[in-house]
Symmetry: C2
C-alpha cells in the first residue's frame, strides 16, 4: 500500500526572532508516473542541515517549545541571523538534505517500477521523515548488498569532495588545501586525491586528527595547534604548489592564513620580486561555517587572490549533466571504500529534538556525526 502521510521534522522562523523545529505529520505529494516513495532509514545531520534546522540561532537558547501542539524545540535568533533568515520567515521548511532508504512504492513508469525494493540514496530536503516521495531519476541506486546506512551520505560529502577536485581542474589549479580535514568529507577527499594523484595539504586542529589522516595515506598534514603551523603550511604549499583552498571553518583567520602562506610559497618559488605581490592567483572557497564569526582578511598577499562561497548545488548546476552522472556513478561504485562514512550516534526523529542530543550534534565537532533513523520509535 502506498504511504500517503509521513512524520517529518519541520523548521519555521517566526517574526518574533524564534525558530521552531517540530515533528509534525504531513501529506505526501500524489505519486506521479515517474515518482517513487522511499522509506527513509538513515539520514545524516550535516553542518549544512543545521542551518536549515536552526537558522543560525543562538544554540544556548534551545528549549522545549511548549507553545507548539507538536513535539518541538525553539531557539532565539540574533538580529543579524534574523536578517539573514528574512526570506524564510513564516515558511515551514522540511529539514534533511540527504538520506538513504528503500523504495516501497513506485509510479507506473518503467523507470520507477524498476526501483521497487532497491536501496537508494536521495537528496533535496525533507529527508528527516518516515517517507519521501521523489522523482525516480534523482535516486542513486546502490550496488546489491548495500544497506540504507551506506546510502545515507552518498550525496553531500562525496559530491562535495569530488566537486572540489573538479573545481580545481576547471579553474586551472593543480593542488588543493582543505581545512577540518579529518572529517568524513576530508577523509574522502584525501582518498580521492591519492587515487587521482593530486597533491593535497590537509589542515587539522589536533595531533589525533593528524595521525588519523596519516594512517589513510596523507603526506601533507598541518596542525593549527602547533606553534610551527604557518611555517609548516608554507613549506607544504611551496612543495605542492597548491593554490586552491576549501575552508569549512569560515569565521576567523584561517582563510587569510592560507592565502598568506600561499603567497609566501609563491614568492619562494618566484624568480623575481613583484611590487604588488606574486601574480599567482590564490583562491580559497568557504564552503562551511564551523566558526560563525566574521572572516578576517588581512590582505597581506598581494592582489592576486580571491575568496568566495562554494555550494554543492550551485556547482552541480554549473557543470554538464553527463558530468554529474559520472560523479554519481563513481560514488555508487566506491560507496564502501572511498566514500564510506562513519557515525557516532543514531537517533530517532523524536530523539533529534532532545536538548542533550542537540547540544552534541550542533557542536559540529570533527569526527562526530549523527544519523537519524526515522524507523526508530
Amino acid at each position: 500500500m502506498t504511504p500517503t502521510r509521513t512524520w517529518q521534522l519541520q523548521s519555521t522562523v517566526h517574526e518574533n526572532n524564534i525558530v521552531s523545529l517540530a515533528l509534525v505529520e504531513a501529506d505526501l505529494p500524489a505519486l506521479g508516473p515517474d515518482d517513487v516513495v522511499v522509506r527513509m532509514e538513515a539520514a545524516p545531520i550535516n553542518p549544512s542541515d543545521l542551518g536549515v534546522m536552526f537558522a543560525r540561532a543562538d544554540m544556548d537558547t534551545v528549549a522545549r517549545d511548549a507553545s507548539a501542539a507538536a513535539l518541538a524545540v525553539r531557539a532565539t535568533l540574533s538580529p543579524e541571523a534574523m536578517q539573514a533568515a528574512a526570506g524564510r520567515v513564516g515558511l515551514r521548511i522540511a529539514a534533511g538534505n540527504e538520506g538513504g532508504g528503500v523504495v516501497v512504492a513506485a509510479g507506473t513508469s518503467e523507470r520507477a517500477q524498476a526501483l521497487l525494493g532497491n536501496v537508494v540514496g536521495i537528496r533535496g530536503g525533507a529527508m528527516y521523515a518516515q517517507y519521501r516521495c521523489i522523482d525516480a531519476h534523482q535516486c542513486l541506486v546502490l550496488p546489491q548488498g548495500s544497506a540504507s546506512v551506506d546510502a545515507a551520505s552518498c550525496f553531500v560529502n562525496p559530491l562535495t569532495a569530488l566537486g572540489m577536485v573538479e573545481t580545481m581542474r576547471l579553474e586551472g589549479h593543480t593542488g588543493l588545501v582543505h581545512t577540518a580535514a579529518a572529517s568524513n568529507l576530508g577523509q574522502m577527499l584525501q582518498k580521492i586525491c591519492l587515487a587521482d594523484g593530486i597533491p593535497l595539504v590537509n589542515i587539522v586542529r589536533s595531533m589525533e586528527q593528524a595521525a588519523l589522516l596519516r594512517r589513510i595515506g596523507a603526506s601533507h598534514v598541518c596542525d593549527t595547534s602547533q606553534p610551527a603551523f604557518m611555517a609548516d603550511l608554507t613549506e607544504a604549499l611551496a612543495e605542492t604548489r597548491a593554490t586552491l583552498g576549501f575552508d569549512a571553518t569560515g569565521g576567523g583567520e584561517l582563510t587569510s592564513q592560507i592565502l598568506a602562506a600561499m603567497e609566501a610559497a609563491a614568492n619562494r618559488n618566484a624568480e623575481e620580486f613583484s611590487r604588488y605581490g606574486s601574480t599567482v592567483h590564490k583562491q580559497v572557497y568557504v564552503y562551511g561555517s564551523l566558526e560563525s564569526g566574521p572572516t578576517l582578511l588581512h590582505r597581506t598577499y598581494g592582489m592576486s587572490w580571491g575568496v568566495g562561497g562554494w555550494l554543492l548545488t550551485n556547482f552541480l548546476r554549473q557543470i554538464p549533466p553527463e558530468k554529474v552522472d559520472r560523479l554519481k556513478n563513481r560514488v555508487a561504485s566506491e560507496i564502501k571504500t572511498t566514500f564510506a562514512s562513519h557515525y557516532t550516534k543514531v537517533v530517532s526523529l523524536a530523539g533529534a529534538l532532545e536538548a542533550d542530543e542537540i547540544a552534541q550534534y550542533s557542536r559540529r565537532a570533527t569526527g562526530q556525526k549523527y544519523l537519524i533513523d526515522p524507523t526508530r520509535a
Copy 2:
C-alpha cells in the same frame, strides 16, 4: 644631448624593519633604437604609489633619515608589514607608477624618432625622476595642445575606471557599485557609465561628496555617513541590479555591507526563497586599501559571493593587446573631458620628502591629490 643620469626617488626596505625613501642620482639605461628619454614634468602620488614608497610602514614614525648620505626619510614597519615586504628587502625600488613629460631624446628607430618633442604619458615605475628612459611603443601620445600635466594621470585612474567596466562585461554583470566614489577615479567612472549607459551606484562618505557626484550626473549616490545608508544602498541595488562592486577602502565592513545589500536586493527581486541564499552571484573586488585594517566578511549573503583583489596590471595582461590599445586611445581622445584629473598641490622631488607634505599626501583623503614636478628645484 641625451641625458645619461637622473635624480630619482628610491625606496628600500631594510632587514631592521625600516623603509627608507631617498632622493638619489642614478644612471639611465643605454638608449636602445626603440627607446626614448622623457623629461618628467608631472607625476601624481596615487594610493598605489604609497605602497611602493612606504611599504605599509607606520606613518606616525616617519622621520628624516640622518643615516643616509642622500636626502631621505625613514619609517618603521610592523612585523606584518615586514612579512608582506619580505620579497623586496634590500632592493632599491624607484618609485612613481606613472607620469607625463616631453620626449627629449630618441633612439634611431622611426617610431622613437617620431616622438621627439611630443607630450606623452608613461607608466611602469621610476617616474619620480627628472628623466625616464622607456620603449617608444609604451608611450601614450596626447593630442596637440596637451600639457605634461594632462598626461600625468593618463594610465592608472583612466585605465582602472575603464578596466572596471570591462571586467563587468567580461564577468556577465550589468551594473556597478563603487566606493570612495568622489575621487578622481570615481568621477571618471561616473562619466564613463553615463556615456555607456551603465547603471552605477556610488558610495561616498559625506554630503559634499554626494553633491559633487550629483553635479556630474550621478543618479545613485549612497552616503555611509547617513543613518539610512544600508536601506538606501539596498534600494539602489534593487533598482540597478548591480552585482559587481569595486572597493577602494579594503579594510573594515564596507565590502561585507555591499554584499549584504546585494543579497537583500536579490531576494527582493527573487520569485522564491532559496535556503542557501540567492543564487545571484555577488562579487566585490578590493582594488585599494584606504583602510588598512582587515576586511571583515560576515557571510550573511548566502553562498553565491566572491571577494578578491583587482590590480590594473594583472587585468591588462588578461585582455588582448588590441583591446588595451582601444582603451588607451579612448583615454587620449577624452583626456581633457572624461579623464581630466585635478590636483591640490604640486611639489618638487625634494618636496615629496618633507615631513609635513608626507603627512598630507599619505592620508589618501578623497579629493586631495599631490603632483610631483621633477623640474622644480
